[in-house]
């Protein structure tokens, strides 16, 4: 049976509401699920840390793919601005090529340049005539690093060269290798001038300046140089963290989540966890707060009346909606995917159990096939609820990160960190491991 024209319009309206794009707080579809009681909220923790730390601090924020980092970063921005902070935002990828190695001199230059552009864009501070890029050119001239020596002609776009010309970046890096201390002092002075300029504009009565430096986690190289690029990021955080602290500014870096495994001794990284729908016990007892948060998300996207029209009875609790929520793994993006699959398949309203089931089957197939070796590791995670990382070697870290990025593995943090596998793959993982165990037994017999 086909949908009536009116139902088709309804379907169209709903589908648009289920679009997956970063939302800013205040958007009518934004549902602050991490703010709800009982749900772990790393953003709130970062805000508190910033509030409690005088003048400056360094925060590292991370999350796996599809966890909604950018949206949550916007929330942090909003909540700090509500407290009176001046919050500036910079996108690392506008200045850095994610496929190239990064070193501390390039990073410091980009930090200052991004900060400068953000100040200009927001009309904050009277530094327009001495934007960082001009200042850097002057600095290089002053320190006798000739511009043509590093491959820059007068008037050329410094930003563009940094991002697109590896030889330029490399030469710059070589020339500045012995001048890092000097460069850092210059960068610090620029930030200090910037903060002063903000103060001049805003008056002395504001709690502080926060700089969100987003997308750094994207620096991971290409297939041919992944290893060396990842090492360069590791080196940055293991050897130069101190240089990444900026005076008078609370720095928030978004960092790759694998840093947590590769550099376990590093300062605490706030990782956005999956919304917890079950407790860490053998039976995975339902955890109501997580369910409530995810139900509220569905309800927000649908609205009360449309929820009832689509599912047949009023929300937020509904057995069919709950079937989708039960298999989303606490990832709102997976939940949206399941809802879209359902919506595209619907032929009658309200939606039927068969449609829900076929949508689940379709999304489950996104996780297939699972390699035998992967299944064995996943099975171990399933049983011990830990990462079960055999070593901090790059191969193992990469594999675990891949599991987490693709949501095969879920990360939870409620006091203690723990891990579990995605509900959609539990049966398949168990079946593969069982089959393999039977083969081993047979071979031994």
């Amino acid at each position: 049976m086909a949908l009536t024209p009116d139902e088709r319009q309804f379907q169209k309206r709903l589908f648009r509401r289920l679009a997956d794009k970063p939302l800013e707080p205040g958007d009518k579809f934004y549902q602050p699920i991490y703010e709800q009681a009982g749900v772990e909220d790393p953003v709130a923790l970062m805000r508190v840390l910033i509030e409690l730390t005088a003048t400056e601090s360094i925060q590292m924020f991370s999350g796996f793919r599809g966890s909604g980092k950018t949206t949550e970063l916007f929330r942090l921005k909003k909540s700090l601005e509500d407290q009176g902070y001046v919050v500036l935002y910079g996108d690392a990828l506008e200045y850095l090529n994610p496929a190239q190695e990064i070193d501390i001199s390039n990073l410091l230059i980009v930090l200052a340049g991004t900060f400068s552009d953000a100040l200009e864009a927001q009309g904050l501070g009277n530094i327009g005539k001495d934007a960082y890029w001009t200042r850097l050119t002057n600095y290089l001239t002053k320190t006798k690093v000739e511009l043509d020596e590093v491959g820059l002609k007068a008037g050329a776009d410094f930003k563009l060269k940094l991002k697109t010309a590896p030889t330029f970046r490399q030469k710059l890096q070589e020339r500045l290798a012995n001048r890092i201390g000097e460069l850092k002092r210059d960068v610090d002075r620029f930030f200090e001038d910037g903060v002063k300029a903000i103060q001049a504009k805003r008056g002395a009565k504001f709690p502080g300046v926060v700089f969100l430096f987003d997308q750094m986690e994207q620096i991971r190289g290409s297939l041919s140089n992944e290893e060396s690029v990842i090492h360069s990021v590791e080196r940055l955080f293991s050897q130069h963290l101190k240089l990444m602290e900026i005076p008078y500014v609370h720095m928030v870096y978004t960092v790759p989540p694998w840093l947590k495994f590769a550099l376990p001794g590093l300062a605490r990284i706030q990782i956005l966890p999956s919304v917890r729908q079950w407790k860490n016990d053998p039976k995975r007892t339902e955890y109501l707060a997580g369910w409530t948060a995810l139900r509220s998300l569905v309800n927000r996207r649908f609205g009360d009346a449309d929820f009832q029209r689509f599912f047949g009875i009023p929300g937020p609790e509904h057995p069919l909606a709950d079937r989708l929520i039960a298999v989303c793994g606490g990832h709102f993006r997976d939940l949206l995917l399941l809802l879209r699959e359902t919506l595209l398949r619907v032929q009658t309203l309200p939606v039927t159990q068969e449609v829900i089931q076929s949508a689940i089957v379709a999304v489950r197939s996104n996780y297939m096939p699972i390699a035998i070796d992967d299944a064995k590791w996943l099975d171990q995670i399933d049983r011990v609820r830990e990462a079960a990382l055999p070593s901090t070697g790059q191969d193992h870290v990469n594999r675990l990160t891949r599991f987490l990025d693709t949501h095969f593995v879920l990360y939870f943090a409620n006091g203690k960190e723990w891990y579990d596998i995605h509900p959609l793959i539990r049966e398949e993982v168990a079946a593969i491991v069982k089959r393999e165990a039977a083969k081993t037994l047979q071979a031994k017999a």
Binding site: R8, F15, D20, R65, E341, S358, D405, T406
Partner: protein
């Protein structure tokens, strides 16, 4: 368009029957509903399917006043340049989607190169996810073979995380209302003739299990047991023995010819028990090895088995390509048995395409070869297939003659599966003659045999055909029960006929409820 090209399009359209596929409906619904950026991953079996999807989507978009804008990727080199080319695209305002298609099946000669090219392109696109989302206010459609999903998931996790939809398009179903059992010719490549007593072979194998250094000997015995089980029509036991043998051979570094032999056996056995995907994988691996060691006979057998797998999936044109390649090789090396199998399979393929006359030509050639070399099994197969062809031409009496001759041979040589097939096909021929009683008996006899030898597809077919008889007789409950049982069997082995049964069941249930 030439008439041949036109026919090819028609055949493709018929084979895929896109409008009836829920996955296709899902895709076009998305185009009706979506606004702004969306990322679609379209998985198809080969370039033909991609071309068909493109054509149909173009038509759909045109109706809405939009167009499909392709980024052509004819070579792996072009695919590698995709990120640069995509970001440079300035789509016209009426663009409905950007279409990026590079479909190389995993059995293709250039598969490795294409896979690497996709990996490179996707890894670079991954780091451009946000710019891409900002730049394009429309749908991006990435079209590839099924393995593209895994590659995108692993190489481009950021891009993957914002996918709007994954669509899988496979061939639709043959529309015949009743199911016949054509007998496939077997593409043989035996490591050792005969097979003997499989139980004894297993007992001997047990003695070697805990003896280090005896792995290859053990594998040989398991292979022999598999052969023996196949000879007894115990297909599941055969599959298990061959699988164990293959694992041992691979682990112990057996010579490629030996691995090839077991792979080909497994490809055949999996075909028989309806595990089509597995059969295809084994045949592909066999083809790779055969080509690597320049083993022409193995190559011919692997090609033939690949054809069978494609035919099982409903992709008959593709199957014909493989059979023809096998036939050339068999003739080149003078393999008469292989030639007969290829001819018989070509006959099956043309029968599937509805060309019964051409099918009969091939079957007669196959029959002549089988008689010439004294292959009784092949002779029975050819006779059965001739029967089906005549039945499809409307000559049920002539069909019955052939089926009866096939039945005699099957019983004579103890070919239980052939016996089941002949009985089932006889049942259908009597149905065509309007006989109300005989079909029941014949389907029941076939059912008993299929169950005895563990042939899931055959059992499903016998149940399905008898369900039709019950329905005609007015016993709706029994018809539905049988069809449900058939559906379970088809679903268990992933047989595409399941959808046909499902659709029929829905109609019957509706009719039952209304009565």
């Amino acid at each position: 368009m030439s008439s041949e090209a036109q026919l090819r399009w028609e055949d493709l359209a018929r084979r895929y029957d896109l409008p009836s596929q829920p996955e296709w409906q899902k895709l076009v619904t998305l185009f009706d509903l979506a606004e702004g950026f969306s990322l679609i991953v379209l998985l198809v079996l080969d370039a033909d399917a991609a071309a068909l999807c493109r054509r149909e989507l173009e038509k759909h978009l045109q109706r809405e006043g939009n167009q499909l804008v392709p980024i052509e990727l004819p070579t792996p080199g072009d695919l590698r340049q995709l990120p640069t080319r995509l970001l440079a695209v300035q789509p016209p305002p009426d663009t409905g989607c950007l279409w990026m298609s590079a479909v190389e099946p995993d059995y293709g000669n250039d598969y490795s190169e294409w896979r690497e090219a996709w990996r490179e392109a996707l890894a670079r696109l991954n780091s451009q996810r946000n710019p891409i989302r900002r730049q394009f206010d429309l749908s991006l459609v990435f079209v590839g073979a099924p393995w593209l999903q895994e590659v995108m998931r692993d190489t481009a996790p950021d891009l993957w995380s914002v996918r709007t939809l994954v669509v899988r398009i496979e061939p639709a179903l043959r529309p015949a209302p009743e199911r016949q059992v054509p007998k496939a010719g077997r593409f043989e490549f035996t490591e050792e003739p005969g097979g003997g007593d499989p139980v004894y072979a297993l007992q001997e194998a047990e003695k070697l299990r805990s003896s280090p250094g005896k792995e290859l000997a053990l594998a040989r015995l398991l292979h022999r047991a598999g052969h023996g089980f196949a000879g007894r029509n115990d297909w599941h036991a055969a599959e298990k023995s061959f699988t164990d043998a293959l694992e041992l051979k691979q682990r112990a570094g057996a010579p490629p010819t030996s691995v090839l032999a077991t792979l080909l056996e497994l490809a055949w056995v999996c075909h028989v028990v309806g595990k089509t995907r597995r059969s295809m994988n084994h045949a592909q691996e066999a083809l790779r090895i055969a080509r690597e060691i320049s083993n022409r006979r193995g190559e011919g057998a692997a090609l033939g088995n690949l054809g069978l797998a494609y035919a099982d999936l409903g992709d008959v044109r593709k199957a014909i390509e493989f059979y023809e390649q096998a036939l050339i090789i068999d003739r080149e090396i003078g393999d008469r048995r292989g030639e007969g199998a290829a001819l018989g399979s070509l006959g099956n393929a043309y029968a599937d395409l509805g060309d019964a006359r051409k099918a009969i030509e091939f079957y007669e050639q196959a029959l002549a070869i089988d008689r010439e070399i004294g292959d009784r099994h092949g002779e029975g197969t050819a006779l059965g297939n001739l029967g089906i062809a005549y039945k499809n031409l409307g000559d049920a009496r002539k069909a019955i003659e052939f089926f009866e001759r096939a039945l005699v041979i099957a019983r004579e040589i103890g070919n239980r599966r052939g016996e089941g097939n002949a009985l089932g096909n006889l049942g259908l021929a009597y149905t065509a003659l309007g006989d109300a009683r005989k079909p029941f008996e014949l389907f029941e006899q076939a059912l008993v045999i299929y169950r005895e030898i563990g042939d899931g597809r055959g059992e499903g077919t016998a149940l399905w055909n008898s369900a039709g008889e019950f329905w005609k007789r007015g016993d709706r409950a029994q018809a539905i029960a049988r069809a449900e049982a058939a559906l379970r069997l088809y679903e268990a082995i992933g047989d595409p006929w399941a959808a046909k049964v499902r659709a029929q069941l829905a109609e019957w249930r509706k009719a039952g409820a209304g009565s």
